[in-house]
């Protein structure tokens, strides 16, 4: 059942009675070729690319709640590829390319909106860093433009350009960056995976991982035992708990990150604006709400909600950057559980247990990574080889110290990335 303009008109004229559920509510079978634990963005994308790119369709996605009920529904929807370090660089570049064709590929409108992201800088040294990052982005084939202070003023005149602490010197613009509709990404991948035969099993919590002679054999779940020779763990903030079922300890600490949305307003912010000095970024959703966020609350947490001091800090940063925002009313705030790694970069890798694969450590940047993460992880699961765009996210890099990707050079403390 495809979506098209004709279909929308036809359904509109016939009382919208022809729409059907977008995927089966599958009951688990006894055996699969691959089990994916976690029905969020990354897990569903992995299932889709396993089926589409590798023809592996005897796959189940096991989700303890409902599909897309974790961070894929709790983020601030940014898509960008302004990364510099080898490893991250080619990966996020690939992801933006996948985003650009995603609605057509999935026949599902993910509302990808390349509206451009402006990252502001406030000193000569920051401008130098922006030039270097921009050149790195251009060198690998992406787009980047250095904006002068006047350029920024023409595009976003409502910022406070002369704040005493952080006067705006200019910005780095990536025009292909932007936003997408977060839930639609999960739903689009779910529908496309289901169409190819993947079982999406909801309300099915994994409670144990079965192993024999160092190999995985299956999982214990609240809906019974399910067997498979390959198990993929894609559970973001809950990675440490699931890994513990296999006796593993991970280089991950879970932290809460808050986000905020205002009441719906008429269009006023056309881009994504990032104000690094205030740990603040903002865009406007298609419904009109200003969507913005800040930094972690800084302490380990599984609460999915934050504390007041960070709310205050984010509001202060908002007022510092764009005083006009003081007129808007905050509608709600929420928190997500972030799987923070010691270098701020993710993990897509095998483990020392045969058949057990790991995709985690997305810190607070997982949304934009969803397509390339699913693509790269599916490649690893199907071929046991790293995909060329996702070859550096190795679990062992922390122990060995080789290949760390610390974009901000903040060291090995999990919450500083």
């Amino acid at each position: 059942m495809g979506f098209s303009g004709w279909r929308v008109i036809k359904e509109g004229l016939t009382g919208n009675r022809g729409w059907k559920p977008q995927w089966r509510d599958a009951a688990p079978k006894k055996d699969y070729d691959v089990l994916i634990i976690g029905g969020g963005g990354h897990g569903l994308a992995t299932a889709y690319y396993l089926a589409k790119e590798h023809g592996i369709t005897n796959v189940a996605v096991l989700e303890k709640g409902h599909l897309g009920s974790g961070n894929i529904g709790r983020n601030t929807t940014l898509v960008r590829s302004n990364y510099m370090m080898p490893g991250n660089s080619e990966f996020y570049s690939h992801s933006v390319k996948l985003w650009e064709g995603l609605s057509q590929e999935l026949n599902y409108n993910v509302m990808h909106s390349p509206r451009g992201q402006i990252v502001l800088h406030h000193s000569d040294a920051q401008r130098d860093a922006a030039v270097r990052l921009g050149n790195a982005m251009i060198n690998r084939g992406d787009d980047a433009e250095l904006l002068t202070r006047d350029d920024v003023r023409r595009m976003v005149p409502y910022l406070d350009f002369d704040s005493a602490r952080f006067p705006i010197y200019g910005g780095l613009l990536q025009r292909r960056a932007g936003t997408a509709r977060h839930d639609a990404v999960a739903w689009g991948y779910a529908r496309a995976a289901d169409e190819r035969g993947v079982d999406l099993v909801q309300n099915c919590e994994v409670t144990g991982i079965d192993m024999k002679n160092g190999k995985v054999t299956g999982v214990q779940t609240t809906r019974g035992v399910i067997r498979a020779p390959k198990i993929a763990v894609v559970v973001a903030g809950r990675s440490s708990q699931v890994a513990a079922m296999a006796g593993m300890r991970l280089p991950i600490e879970s932290h809460v990150l808050q986000a905020f949305v205002t009441e719906g307003l008429k269009p006023c912010i056309d881009h994504v604006i990032s104000f690094g000095m205030g740990h603040f970024y903002i865009s406007q959703s298609d419904k009109g709400g200003l969507v913005f966020g800040g930094n972690l609350d800084f302490y380990a947490s599984y609460a999915s909600r934050g504390n007041l001091p960070m709310k205050e800090h984010v509001m202060e940063a908002a007022m510092t950057l764009m005083p006009m925002i003081g007129k808007a009313k905050v509608l709600r705030s929420w928190g997500g559980i972030m799987d923070m790694t010691p270098d701020g970069s993710p993990i897509i890798d095998r483990t020392l247990i045969d058949g057990l694969y790991l995709n985690c450590g997305w810190c607070y940047g997982g949304f934009k990574a969803v397509p390339a993460s699913g693509y790269g992880f599916a490649h690893l699961l199907a071929t046991d080889q790293y995909h060329e765009t996702a070859s550096k996210f190795q679990l062992d890099r922390f122990r060995s110290g080789r290949g760390l990707m610390d974009e901000e050079a903040t060291g090995s403390q999990h919450n500083l990335h």
């Binding site: 440490s240 991970l250 600490e253 800084f298 380990a300 010691p342 922390f398 122990r399 090995s412 403390q413």
Partner: protein, 90 residues
């Protein structure tokens, strides 16, 4: 969230800097080996529930405090001076 400092009593969370898991007190020696340093720097139990972490009472008495805390409810369960914890361990 309010944190109890053993010296100053219950104080606003904003007075404290968060270091991370209290294993920061158990720094291995220079010859501790690769595994000990990997565990110390990177690997975490990361419990959903009770945990012990290290906070610095930066805007108060400057004490380092080991706080027992629930990561799901944000409940503060106990706190001791890090120096005492360290002494007891040696």
């Amino acid at each position: 969230m309010r944190i109890t400092c053993p010296i100053c009593g219950e104080r606003d969370r904003r007075e404290f800097y968060y270091k991370g898991d209290a294993l920061a007190l158990n720094r291995p020696g220079p010859d501790g080996g690769e595994k000990a340093w990997d565990d110390y720097l990177h690997i975490r139990d990361n419990p959903a529930g009770e945990t012990r972490d290290l906070w610095f009472h930066e805007a108060g008495c400057s004490a380092w405090v080991v706080v027992t805390r629930n990561t799901v409810t944000h409940e503060i369960l106990a706190s001791e001076l890090a120096s005492k914890v360290k002494e007891a361990a040696t």
